[in-house]
C-alpha cells in the first residue's frame, strides 16, 4: 500500500513540475509580448494625434505626420494581396486536390519551402532586377507589391494547403459519389469548408507584408515624398521604411526619436486592425458555410 502511495506521489510530483514549466513558458511569452507592446505604446503614444496620422512629414521629417507612409503601406498590402492571394490559393488547390503523389509534387513542395526560407533582402534584389529594371516598372507600387507578393506566396500556399488537408476526405468522396466532377467537388464542397481557415493565411500575410522593409527598399520605398501616390506606377513612402529612415538616417535622429516610436505604434495598430478584421471575416464565413 505504502509503495503504491509513494509511486502516486512521485507521479503527481513529476506531473506538477512538467505542467509548471509549460504554464511558466506560456505566460512568459504573453508577458514578453505585453512588455514589447507597452514599451512602444508608452514611448509612442505621446506623438499620436490627428495631425500625426493625417499630415505630411515636415522639417526634415522631425515634425508633421506619417500620412503618406500609412497610405503607401496600405497600397502595398492591397497590391501584393491582389497578386499573391489568388495565385497562392489556386496553386495550393492544384497541389492538394489535383496533383498525384510522386516526385513532381515533392519537388514543388520542396521549392515552396525553399522559397519561404529565402532572405527578404534577396527578394528585394530580385524584385529590383526583374520588376524595376527588366520589366521597366520603375520604383513603383506595382514593383514593390509584386515583390512583397512573391515573399508571402509560400505562406499563403502553405496555409491554404493545410486548410484543404483538414477537410475530411469523406466530404470529397460523398460529393464524387453523387456524380459530381472533381471541379464541382473542389469548388462547391471542399473550398467553402476550407475557406475560413484560408483567411488565416491572408491574416498572416497582411501582417508580414505591412512590416517588411527589405523587399521594398529597392523597389518602391521613397525616402521622403510628401505627396500621395496617384497610380500603381508611382513611388510611395511606407511605414517600416519610414521608421528605418527616421531612426537611423534622418536629418535629426534625436529630434525624431519620438516620431519613430509613433510610427512603430501606427504600424502595429494597422496589423492589429487587419487581424481583427480578418478574424471577423473568418467567423462570418465560418457561420455562413454551415448555413449555406
Amino acid at each position: 500500500m505504502s509503495t503504491e502511495n509513494n509511486l502516486a506521489k512521485k507521479k503527481r510530483r513529476s506531473q506538477n513540475i512538467a505542467f509548471g514549466i509549460f504554464t511558466a513558458t506560456s505566460y512568459a511569452i504573453v508577458a514578453l509580448l505585453f512588455v514589447i507592446l507597452a514599451f512602444i505604446v508608452v514611448k509612442g503614444i505621446g506623438v499620436i494625434s490627428w495631425e500625426f496620422i493625417s499630415e505630411m512629414p515636415k522639417n526634415g521629417m522631425t515634425e508633421g505626420g506619417v500620412f503618406p507612409a500609412i497610405v503607401g503601406t496600405l497600397c502595398l498590402v492591397i497590391a501584393s494581396m491582389i497578386f499573391a492571394f489568388p495565385v497562392g490559393v489556386l496553386a495550393a488547390i492544384y497541389m492538394n486536390e489535383y496533383v498525384k503523389d510522386g516526385w513532381p509534387k515533392k519537388i514543388i513542395k520542396q521549392m515552396t519551402n525553399n522559397l519561404a526560407g529565402v532572405p527578404s533582402i534577396v527578394f528585394g534584389l530580385f524584385g529590383m532586377s526583374l520588376f524595376v529594371n527588366k520589366l521597366e516598372f520603375g520604383d513603383s507600387i506595382l514593383a514593390g507589391g509584386l515583390t512583397l507578393g512573391l515573399l508571402v506566396l509560400p505562406v499563403i500556399i502553405r496555409t491554404t494547403e493545410e486548410s484543404l488537408k483538414a477537410v475530411d476526405d469523406t466530404f470529397r468522396q460523398a460529393s464524387l459519389g453523387l456524380g459530381a466532377s472533381k471541379w464541382e467537388t473542389t469548388s462547391k464542397i471542399v473550398f467553402p469548408i476550407a475557406f475560413p481557415n484560408i483567411i488565416t493565411g491572408l491574416i498572416l500575410s497582411i501582417g508580414r507584408v505591412s512590416g517588411e522593409t527589405a523587399p521594398i527598399l529597392f523597389t518602391v520605398a521613397a525616402y521622403f515624398l510628401p505627396k500621395l501616390p496617384r497610380s500603381i506606377f508611382d513611388q510611395a513612402m511606407a511605414l517600416p521604411y519610414h521608421l528605418y529612415v527616421i531612426a537611423t538616417s534622418g536629418t535629426d535622429i534625436e529630434k525624431s526619436r519620438a516620431m519613430a516610436y509613433g510610427t512603430a505604434l501606427i504600424l502595429i495598430i494597422i496589423v492589429l486592425i487587419s487581424n481583427l478584421l480578418a478574424n471577423a471575416l473568418r467567423k462570418y464565413y465560418g457561420k455562413k458555410v454551415k448555413m449555406n
Partner: protein, 250 residues
C-alpha cells in the same frame, strides 16, 4: 442475370495484395452483407463497386466487375454516371456543411437539374422516403449539423437516394450511432430493399443477420464463404466462418 457480378477481382495498394481473386455476384433488390475482421478487404471490395478506390494513388485492380451488364472498369465507362447509379453511405455521418434542404438538393444540382419545383419535390419525397420528414420539415433551411447523429445518417442516405441510384453501398453505416438510431436505419434498409440493391459492410453480426439476404465472409483479402445469410449463420460450410461468427476470433 445478376445485378452485380465480380470475376476474379484482385486489388493492390502498392505492394499490398488486398483482395485475392474475388468472384461474387449479387441479385437485384437484395441486401448483401460483407463481414470479416478489420483489414480483411470488405471495405476495399465495397469501394470498388463505385470506383471510389480510383481516388487513392498507387493502386491496381485486375479482373472485372459487371453492373447491369456493363464492365464498370471498361474503357467506355463514365465514372460520374456509374457513381450516379451507385450511391454510397459512409461510416461516420458526413452531411455537407449546408442546410438540410441543400444537402439533398446538391446531388440533383450537380447532375444538371435546375428546375426549382422539381428539385423541391424530389428533396421532399426523398426525405420522406428515409422517414425523416416529420423531424425536419420545419427546419429545412437550418444547418444539417443541428441534427442528431442518427438523423444526419438518414439525411446522408436521402442525399444518396435523391439522384435515383439503383444500388446503395453502405460502409458500416451504424457503427457511429446509438442503438435506437441503429434500429431506425436497419428498418430503413429493410424497406429500401424493394427498390434498391444494397451492399452493406458491417462489424455487427446481429445486424448482418437481421438485414441481409446473403452474406459474404472475407478473411485476409479472400472471400472465404458466400451464401444465404441463414445458411452462413446456422450451418456455415467452412470452419473459419463458424469461428468468426461465433466470436472465436476476429
Amino acid at each position: 442475370m445478376h445485378k452485380i457480378e465480380s470475376n476474379n477481382v484482385n486489388f493492390y495498394y502498392g505492394e499490398n495484395h488486398a483482395l485475392r481473386d474475388i468472384s461474387l455476384s449479387m441479385k437485384e433488390n437484395t441486401v448483401t452483407a460483407l463481414i470479416g475482421p478489420s483489414g480483411c478487404g470488405k471495405s476495399t471490395y465495397l469501394r470498388l463497386l463505385n470506383r471510389m478506390n480510383d481516388l487513392i494513388d498507387g493502386t491496381k485492380m485486375t479482373g472485372s466487375i459487371v453492373i447491369d451488364g456493363t464492365d464498370i472498369y471498361g474503357k467506355n465507362t463514365n465514372v460520374d454516371n456509374l457513381r450516379k447509379n451507385v450511391g454510397m453511405v459512409f461510416q461516420k455521418p458526413n452531411p455537407f456543411p449546408k442546410t438540410i434542404f441543400e444537402n439533398v438538393a446538391y446531388g440533383l444540382r450537380v447532375n444538371g437539374i435546375t428546375d426549382k419545383n422539381e428539385i423541391e419535390e424530389r428533396v421532399v419525397t426523398t426525405i420522406e422516403q428515409v422517414a425523416l420528414w416529420d423531424e425536419v420539415k420545419d427546419k429545412l433551411k437550418k444547418s444539417a449539423f443541428e441534427l442528431s447523429g442518427g438523423q444526419q445518417q438518414r439525411l446522408c442516405i436521402a442525399r444518396a437516394l435523391a439522384i435515383k441510384p439503383s444500388i446503395l453501398l453502405m460502409d458500416e453505416p451504424t457503427s457511429a450511432l446509438d442503438p435506437i438510431s441503429t434500429s431506425k436505419i436497419e428498418e430503413l434498409i429493410y424497406e429500401l430493399k424493394n427498390k434498391y440493391t444494397i451492399v452493406i459492410v458491417t462489424h455487427n453480426m446481429q445486424q448482418a443477420g437481421r438485414v441481409s439476404d446473403t452474406t459474404a465472409f472475407f478473411y485476409m483479402g479472400e472471400l472465404i464463404e458466400y451464401d444465404k445469410t441463414k445458411t452462413i449463420f446456422t450451418k456455415p460450410a467452412i470452419k473459419q466462418t463458424e469461428d468468426y461468427i461465433t466470436g472465436r476470433f476476429g
